[in-house]
C-alpha cells in the first residue's frame, strides 16, 4: 500500500502472494512455473526462486509468516547437503534416505488436498446459490423483563464475578479434591434456604474455594429456579441479585425467572 512501490509489476505480485496459503503452496506454484517434475525437483533452482519471492515480499513490506522462513531454512539446508560429499555428512544421516524425499512426499500429499479443496470450493460456490429456509432467530427481548426480574444474562454475569473471586481464593492456596454433584448441591441449597428466606447471590458461594464446586452449585441453583423452588430477584439494574426460596412453588411462579433460566440451564453444555 506504499505509493512509491506502486508499479504494474508489484500490483500483480501482491495479488499473487496473497493467494498463497502457505510455503507448500508457493513451492508447488514455483515447480509448475519452472516446469519441473515434482519427483525430480532441482533444489538449487527452486531454492533460488523461493528466496527471490521472499525478498520481493519483504520489499513490498508484506508480513511474511514464520512458516515461509522455516521453509526457506529447510530448502537451504537441503541444498547445502547436496554440496557435501557423502563421507562428510554427519554420521547419523548417512544411513537415512535423502531428506529431500520427505519434502517431495509432503508436496505430493499437500497437492492432493489442495486439489480436493478446490473441488470443495466449486461445490460450495454452487450450493451457496441455493437458499433454504433457516430457523428463525429466537431472541430474548429485554423489553419483556419487568422491574425486579432477573435475566439469564444478569445471572451469568454475577456468576462470572463469583468465579473470578474463587480463582483468587484458589491462588491463595486453598485446594480441594472433593467431588460435588448437582444433587448434593440441590440439597445444600434447600437446607440453606428455608421457604420464604432470601440470600445475596454472592453469599451462596462465599464458603467455596474450588471452581468445580461453584459451577456445580450454580447448576443446582439454575435447576431449582427451573423447578420454581428458587426465585432470582433484583431491585433494579446493576443492583445485587437476591436468591429467594419460594413459599409455595406452584402459586409463586414469576414467569421470567422460571422460563428464561430453565431454558438456559438445559441448553448450556457444561
Amino acid at each position: 500500500m506504499i505509493p512509491m512501490l506502486e508499479t504494474p509489476g508489484s500490483e500483480a505480485l501482491r495479488v499473487e502472494l496473497a493467494a498463497f496459503t502457505g510455503p507448500l503452496d508457493l513451492l508447488l506454484h514455483l515447480i509448475k512455473e519452472q516446469e519441473m517434475d515434482i519427483y525430480d525437483i532441482r533444489l538449487e533452482k527452486l531454492t533460488e526462486q523461493y528466496l527471490t519471492r521472499l525478498d520481493k515480499m519483504r520489499e513490498e513490506n508484506l508480513a511474511i509468516a514464520g512458516e515461509f522462513l522455516v521453509m526457506a531454512a529447510t530448502l537451504l539446508y537441503l541444498k547445502s547437503r547436496t554440496l557435501l560429499p557423502v563421507q562428510d555428512r554427519p554420521p547419523e544421516e548417512v544411513e537415512e534416505e535423502d531428506p529431500k524425499w520427505e519434502l517431495i512426499r509432503q508436496l505430493i500429499e499437500y497437492r492432493k488436498f489442495k486439489e480436493a479443496a478446490g473441488q470443495l470450493g466449486e461445490r460450495e460456490a454452487l450450493h451457496s446459490r441455493i437458499f433454504g429456509r433457516v430457523p428463525e432467530r429466537v431472541t430474548a427481548s429485554p423489553a419483556l423483563m419487568g422491574p425486579g426480574q432477573v435475566s439469564m444474562f444478569d445471572l451469568v454475569w454475577a456468576f462470572q464475578k463469583v468465579l473470578r473471586s474463587v480463582e483468587e481464593r484458589a491462588k491463595a492456596g486453598r485446594f480441594s479434591d472433593e467431588q460435588f454433584t448437582v444433587g448434593q448441591k440441590i440439597e445444600f441449597l434447600l437446607d440453606r434456604l428455608p421457604p420464604g428466606e432470601e440470600i445475596l447471590f454472592e453469599d451462596l458461594f462465599r464458603s467455596m474455594s474450588s471452581r468445580g464446586e461453584v459451577v456445580v452449585t450454580f447448576l443446582a441453583m439454575l435447576e431449582l429456579i427451573r423447578l420454581r423452588q428458587l426465585i432470582a430477584k433484583q431491585e433494579g439494574p446493576l443492583q445485587p441479585i437476591l436468591i429467594q426460596r419460594a413459599v409455595d412453588p406452584v402459586l409463586d411462579a414469576p414467569s421470567v425467572t422460571g422460563e428464561g433460566a430453565g431454558q438456559a440451564s438445559v441448553d448450556s453444555p457444561v
Binding site: T21, L24, E109, K112, F113, A117, L120, G121, L126, S128
Partner: protein, 206 residues
C-alpha cells in the same frame, strides 16, 4: 398419492434436511388429533421424493438430497433474485486456507490440529477456530497419541454447506483417505504411526 401434498408442505416448512424415515413416521402418525396414513412405507416416500424432485425441476425450487435428508431450496440460477430479498442471507464462503483445512479434515477425520498442520505446512489454529465457530466442524474427542490432542471431525452442516449426501460423496474419497499422513512435528515412533492410521478411519456421521 394423497399424502404427496403433505410431503411437499413438510419439506417446504422444514428448516433442516428431512430423512425419508422421519417423513414417513410423520405421515403414519397423522396431524395433531387427526388421522394419518399408517400404511406409508419409507420406500414409498423415497419414490415420491424422486417424483417431487422431477416436478420441481422446471420451476423456481429444487429438491436436494443433503446430509442424509431432503431439503427444498431455491434454484441456483435464481440466486441473484433471491438475494434481493431483505433478511435472506447466504452463508459466507470459506477462504482458501479454510477450504484447505476443511479438505484435510473431511478426508482424514477424526484428526488433530498437528496432523492438519503437517499436511498444510502452516499454523491452522485460526482456521480451525473459524470452522468450529461456523459449526462446519466440531471436536469429536481426544486422540490416544501423546498429549491426548483434541480431534476434529465434520458436522451435518458441513454436508449441507457443500451439498453432499454423505462423506462417501466427497470427490476422490477413496484415494485421499488411503494416502499416508505425514507424521506431525513432535517425535513419534512406529506406535504413533499406527495410532494415526487408526484415527483416520472415517467417523460415522450422526
Amino acid at each position: 398419492m394423497e399424502w404427496a401434498r403433505v410431503l411437499e408442505a413438510l419439506l417446504f416448512a422444514a428448516t433442516e434436511p428431512m430423512e425419508p424415515s422421519r417423513l414417513a413416521a410423520i405421515l403414519r402418525e397423522g396431524p395433531e388429533g387427526g388421522q394419518g396414513w399408517p400404511e406409508v412405507k419409507e420406500q414409498e416416500v423415497c419414490d415420491e421424493l424422486a417424483q417431487l424432485s422431477e416436478r420441481l425441476a422446471p420451476r423456481g425450487l429444487i429438491l436436494r438430497e443433503v446430509a442424509g435428508g431432503f431439503r427444498i431450496g431455491t434454484a441456483p440460477d435464481l440466486s441473484g433474485w433471491v438475494a434481493k430479498l431483505k433478511g435472506v442471507v447466504r452463508p459466507p464462503r470459506l477462504s482458501p486456507p479454510a477450504l484447505e483445512t476443511m479438505a484435510v479434515i473431511a478426508y482424514r477425520q477424526p484428526i488433530s490440529r498437528a496432523e492438519v498442520e503437517a499436511v498444510r505446512g502452516v499454523d491452522c489454529s485460526g482456521t480451525l477456530d473459524t470452522l468450529v465457530e461456523r459449526g462446519i466442524i466440531r471436536i469429536t474427542g481426544r486422540s490416544e497419541a501423546p498429549g491426548r490432542p483434541i480431534l476434529y471431525g465434520t458436522t451435518p452442516l458441513f454436508l449441507e454447506h457443500f451439498g453432499l449426501k454423505d462423506l462417501e460423496e466427497l470427490p476422490n474419497s477413496e484415494e485421499l483417505r488411503r494416502v499416508k499422513l505425514p507424521a506431525p512435528a513432535d517425535p513419534g515412533g512406529p506406535k504413533q504411526e499406527e495410532l494415526i492410521h487408526e484415527a483416520s478411519e472415517p467417523a460415522p456421521q450422526s
